[in-house]
């Protein structure tokens, strides 16, 4: 009986926690995070959120010169990026190709940002 109770509580707790986490898909922006929204319309049509590029997360692993200015122009929105190019190994796909970092199959790792007030 007692054991059943514990299992039940853990089950309900687990469901609650996981729903909270999946709903909290948006996250706070770190300093240096860049919201990429130049393809806003196309992203809305495909029902994905906006992209956040976390600079400081990448910076621990790579110097700026690995990306700037060859791969990305150092200006918000100045790069014409779309998923086609990423899948073909350009831009983010230079690394997010399953060799250097994970493949661009996990949409919700990059497409995580919703502007406040959109929900």
């Amino acid at each position: 009986m007692y054991r059943m109770m514990i299992i039940l509580v853990m089950l309900i707790g687990g469901i609650l926690v996981s729903t909270v986490y999946t709903q909290e898909g948006t996250r706070l922006l770190e300093y240096g995070d860049i919201v990429m929204n130049s393809k806003q319309e196309a992203m809305k049509k495909a029902k994905v959120k906006l992209v956040v590029f976390p600079h400081w997360f990448h910076r621990i692993r790579y110097k700026c010169k690995a990306c700037h200015p060859k791969l990305f122009v150092m200006e918000r929105g100045a790069n014409d990026i779309d998923m086609d190019k990423i899948m073909r190994g350009e831009y983010c796909g230079r690394c997010h190709n399953g060799i250097v970092a994970w493949e661009p199959l996990y949409c919700d790792r990059c497409h995580i940002y919703e502007p406040p007030g959109e929900r």
Partner: protein, 194 residues
């Protein structure tokens, strides 16, 4: 008896020493605030004219828990943000220069000299621009020929341009440390003049 007198004297000296330390510490802090007030007075009119928000109000201080896991154990600046320069100099980071191979970078030039940028202001020190600290992260073509000409004093810009996100503000305030708060001002305005 003699030992007691000696101990009392010693304690007295110690407390004097500590009081002095506390006083001078306090003085240091007041000094910095005074400097900030003095600078604010001097540049206020221009800031308002150009519509730049007050840069001397410090950024929100961050605690240990506010930082993402990956950044928590790096050295931190007075506002709680990672101090990347110190992390670099302490050898805590091993970021890669390239993704696949060194040929990506082309022929890399080596340049380590400091450039002193004279500042038109009496309160703040001149700026030492360290090529060494920047070239660890960046390649020359991020800064030369745009936005900086490769010759001392050829590029004309002001602090107000920086706050507007040009020149030094291209990175400082977006990815590198901010142009806000007196402690950050003093990371660039380092050279004391007599």
């Amino acid at each position: 008896m003699r030992r007691q007198v000696f101990m009392i004297l010693l304690m007295g000296l110690l407390s004097l020493f500590m009081a002095h330390g506390a006083l001078s510490l306090g003085k240091g802090r007041v000094d910095k605030k005074d400097i900030a007030e003095e600078i604010r007075k001097r540049i206020q009119a221009q800031l308002i004219r150009l519509g730049i928000p007050d840069p001397l109000s410090p950024p929100a201080t961050r605690g240990f828990e506010d930082l993402p896991l990956a950044l928590r154990y790096l050295p931190r600046d007075p506002y709680g943000y990672p101090d990347w320069t110190r992390a670099m100099e302490d050898g805590l980071l091993l970021p890669r220069d390239y993704i696949y191979g060194p040929e990506e970078l082309g022929k890399e030039r080596h340049y380590d000299k400091d450039v002193v940028i004279k500042v038109k202001d009496e309160v703040l020190g001149d700026v030492i621009f360290s090529h060494r600290k920047h070239n660890y992260w960046l390649s020359c073509d991020n800064c030369h020929p745009y936005p900086f000409k490769e010759k001392r004093g050829e590029t004309k810009f002001t602090m107000y341009d920086n706050w507007k996100g040009k020149y030094c503000g291209l990175c400082h305030g977006k990815v590198a440390f901010m142009l806000r708060g007196i402690d950050n001002c003093l990371r660039c305005h380092t050279l004391r003049r007599n």
